[in-house]
Amino acid sequence: MVQIKKRHLANFGKNVLCYALLIAITIFCIFPIAWIFKTSFETPQFIRNPNIQWIPLKFTLENYKSVLNNPNAMIGKSFMNSLIVSLISTVISLLITTMAGYALSRWNFHGKNTLNVYLLLVNMVPGTLILISMFIILNKLHLINTHIGLILFYISTGLTLATWMLKGYFDSIPVDIEEQAMIDGADRMTVIRKIIMPLAAPGIFATGAYIFLKNWNEYMAASTILQKSELRTLSVQIVNFMGFQRVEWGPIMAYSVIVMIPSSILFIIAQKKMVAGLTAGFSK
């Protein structure tokens, strides 16, 4: 009896410890987010309060209004810029690499492993190196300060990751399904269109989401290639806006909330598949 009680007690202790640890980690993960929201609803005088309180003392939408009305924030314009650039570059990356991902998953062909090694190497190349030479090339083509220039850069960074992830997803579809269909008399194109693509659709979507978000959030190239304010994407615009605001944290945090909500939702929808694709692609 005593033994059992002791064990129960030990188990109870263990559970409490686990919960405590988990709660501590969770607080570490979310307190900055809570602080973004809190600051965005707080009036300037209470943002500059030497005491910290977690509920806004005087709830206000002023920060949001000031961001939406501020000509320097250019939130609508920047949002459209981000959308155009990210969407076009993602679609092009996917169109090119879906076929390659399928081929890499299904066949052994001459040069396949060279391609694999190359994909790994390209993933290691510093963004600055690609940016430097792209910058020189884009200048020759008169594409600095254009969205096309930035799209070309994003295609460059998206290709390897997309190929990698897509191959992983196609690997997870058993080859027997295709074989059975072809034995039943379907030709390959029909099999790919009618069977493989629908099965791979979630994976292709997750890859697309990953590339899209990467481009949507990208900062280095966007801030270097696009100098004109009306061309800027959201991530550059918000940093620039901060320069205008002289550290008025209320509007900056309101801006942050507006910027992060759409991308966070997409992220949460696609995250499980994205992780699976990255793992599969890398472990081959």
């Binding site: 980690i25 030497p50 066949w107 390209v122 510093p126 020189i136 295609i155 080859v175």
Partner: protein, 301 residues
């Protein structure tokens, strides 16, 4: 799989990879090779002439005493410190979190979603937010550290030319914990539960189970994970750039990607910036050499 009769049609795979190969050549190989070329030239900025100077840029960086050369050695070591501490911190916290989430308990899915959040925030928003948290006058972190007695008066954590890199490391760890957790959790779920039952029968305690079952089973995923995150965080840019002083000439907390960017686009020495990037790439290659070898080996098979 590939030897099965259906997939023997010789030409189709080549047609399928052709667009990707062409795109890779235009968009990655060409910039890579021309970047390497520019690192051997004295090109200043766009439109300027590029004269071949051989290894001059590299020699200046390593031996020089002016311009970016003054900060090169420091940035170099700082990049290593940065990568080890960020990836290491992410790994330890991620492993603990994954182990905790692998148990059955009340509220599990709520915790899982909350812990995921740092990964979903745009990196720019994240960097700005942490800058606000580190604010030297009204920052949350200063407030609590002082309240709990860790510091006597408010500290300016980031944004100064002499700021340390550690506050930024915390941000990097914060950012990466969710990804690590997700990856390791997927590995933990794949472990056969019967192994643990058998170990319990044999009288192994939790720690022994962890060392003899969990760790060996996770080995592959841990290696993949560390490789992938090392690559990413070695080249990370946004946190260090946004939390640094504006337009400052070399500062204490910079790493190689930051130095390369400033050298190229602020001080307008594209050639030297390319040289910094190439050195950075070579060091990363050395770190990753095992993985590259493994890929090479499968070429021969």
């Amino acid at each position: 799989m590939a030897n099965r009769s259906l997939f023997k049609k010789k030409l189709l795979p080549y047609w399928l990879i052709l667009p990707t190969v062409i795109a890779l050549i235009i968009f990655t190989l060409y910039p890579l090779v021309s970047g390497l070329f520019y690192s051997f030239t004295d090109i200043k900025f766009i439109g300027a002439k590029a004269n071949w100077v051989g290894l001059d840029n590299y020699i200046t960086l390593i031996k020089g005493t002016v311009g970016s050369a003054r900060f090169f050695a420091q940035s170099f070591w700082q990049t290593i410190e940065w990568t080890i501490s960020v990836v290491g911190g992410q790994f330890i916290l991620g492993l603990i979190t994954a182990l905790l989430l692998n148990r059955d308990f009340f509220g599990k899915s709520a915790f899982s979603i909350l812990i995921m959040i740092p990964w979903t925030i745009p990196s720019v928003v994240m960097s700005l937010t942490w800058q606000w948290l580190y604010d030297p006058f009204y920052g949350l972190i200063n407030f609590y550290l002082k309240k709990w007695g860790f510091i006597e008066k408010y500290v300016t954590w980031v944004g100064q030319p002499n700021s340390e890199i550690w506050p930024q490391v915390i941000v990097g760890i914060w950012r990466g914990v969710p990804f690590m957790t997700l990856m390791l959790l997927s590995g933990l779920k794949a472990i056969d539960k019967e192994l643990y039952e058998a170990a319990k029968v044999d009288g192994a305690n939790t720690l022994q189970q962890f060392i003899h079952i969990t760790l060996p089973s996770l080995k592959t995923i841990i290696v993949i994970n560390l490789m992938l995150t090392t690559m990413w965080w070695w080249n990370s840019f946004d946190i260090q750039k946004i939390m640094s002083p504006v337009n400052s000439l070399g500062y204490k907390a910079s790493t190689l990607p930051i130095l390369a960017w400033y050298e190229s686009f602020q001080w307008k020495h594209l050639g030297k910036g390319a040289a910094i990037s190439i050195i950075s790439l070579l060091v990363l290659l050395v770190i990753m050499i095992d993985r590259v070898r493994q890929e090479m080996r499968s070429v021969k098979e």
